[in-house]
Symmetry: C2
Subunit: 219 residues, 2 copies
DNA sequence: TGGGGGTATATTGTCGACAATTAAAAGCGT
DNA sequence: ACGCTTTTAATTGTCGACAATATACCCCCA
């Protein structure tokens, strides 16, 4: 599951900070004071600075020379642009997965889908968040493309999660999304790259339209 | 031209290091010794470390905790994976450009193309590198998508250039590529997103196949 | 002579202090 | 009282030193 083993204190601090930003414990748009954070997380300013640099690379923070760093603000336009990139990259991931996933990987992907099927049919569907994430991760990894994997895992998904968490995304679309997942897996199982890409792109587009409705209030 | 104004010494050092890596002055695969670089560039180790972190984010360097950083190695597979990402992102950029570029921007894009036409028809075609880069930049910026722009400019293009420089890419395909550019601009001028994306993806695929031949020697 | 353990060296990780820059406050004149 | 200049405070940028980890070397032993 790609264990992000944090060996150094810088790693741990980065993960802690990232978690607090994604969860909203450090609110969107707020300024990051290095000395303050240094005291809060009990590490030197050098560590904080390194973490902030990594957060900037992860698109969670914006930095200006001699002025400082701010947590990104969540906007309607920002969400749209983020999902356009997702559509592009995950579409390609699905395309490559159809060619590059091993038979074994595909078997396990189908098993994952069956697990989700039970959840969807069951009483309460705790599917959405965790299940959806699992599914997308599996396909991205199945692309066997290091750049693609790295970009999505490090530069995109945490920001996506930040939108989801802070805008309270857990809504309907559970069963609908499930069937879309099913069709994507079918295309991959059939080793049909073109179709897999197209279905994934549509799936992400729909998903965006769904979220978009929930934040007409954001400018 | 997106002036990367480097205000701080850290910025300057980063740019210097990046240039040396892309150009091969610091050879691919070699280890980066922090103290050594600190002496070479006349700055503290803190600056070097920050620069190395940024280079890692730019996919030009790989870092391991407590062990150190190495310049990436150029491989056949690495090139393919890089171009797959390019195809994905620039395809989307072309699609968005067809919708989002202003009439003014499109006019200037056509002018750029005319300039290149003269070069291609002229005696020596110094077109390839600079011209190609200009063209692609213009379209990426035309997408008006900040994530897309940032990813390509900071995380992809410098590595692409590193492959080009170090594998001595300047070859034929000058006029061929020009006509492909022409068709892409036509699609954008016609406000046809679907076609613009398709043509850009093909253009990049062809370009990769062309480069691929030149490095059968790389494993 | 070859291998394992332990010491020495080199390299990276972390820290606190100083310098440079920016933002805020005070002082001044009109 | 208002606007401009000067001074002060706060924050970021840079540095050299110390700590922790990994690598290289040497010695000892079978």
């Amino acid at each position: 599951m790609l264990a992000e083993n944090a060996v150094t204190t810088s790693d741990k601090t980065f993960l802690a900070l990232r978690g607090d930003i994604v969860d909203g414990a450090i609110s969107a748009g707020s300024k990051l004071n290095e000395s303050e954070l240094s005291a809060k997380y009990q590490v030197s300013r050098a560590i904080i600075r390194e973490s902030i640099n990594r957060l900037e690379a992860a698109n969670l923070v914006e930095r200006k020379a001699n002025i400082g760093a701010k947590v990104v603000t969540l906007t309607h336009q920002g969400l749209i642009q983020l999902y356009q990139v997702r559509e592009s990259l995950e579409g390609m991931a699905a395309r490559l997965a159809a060619t590059n996933m091993s038979d074994n990987e595909i078997t396990r992907l189908n098993q994952l889908l069956n697990t989700h099927a039970e959840d969807v049919m069951g009483p309460q569907s705790y599917y959405q968040e965790a299940g959806d994430v699992d599914f997308h991760y599996r396909i991205v990894l199945g692309s066997h493309n290091q750049h693609l994997i790295s970009m999505l895992m490090h530069n995109i998904y945490h920001l996506v999660r930040m939108y989801r968490v802070q805008l309270g995304m857990a809504g309907p679309r559970v069963t609908t999304a499930f069937y879309e997942h099913q069709h994507i897996v079918q295309a991959i199982s059939n080793r049909d790259p073109e179709l897999a890409e197209m279905l994934m792109r549509r799936h992400i587009t729909y998903s965006m339209k769904n979220i978009e409705n929930k934040l007409r209030n954001l400018q």
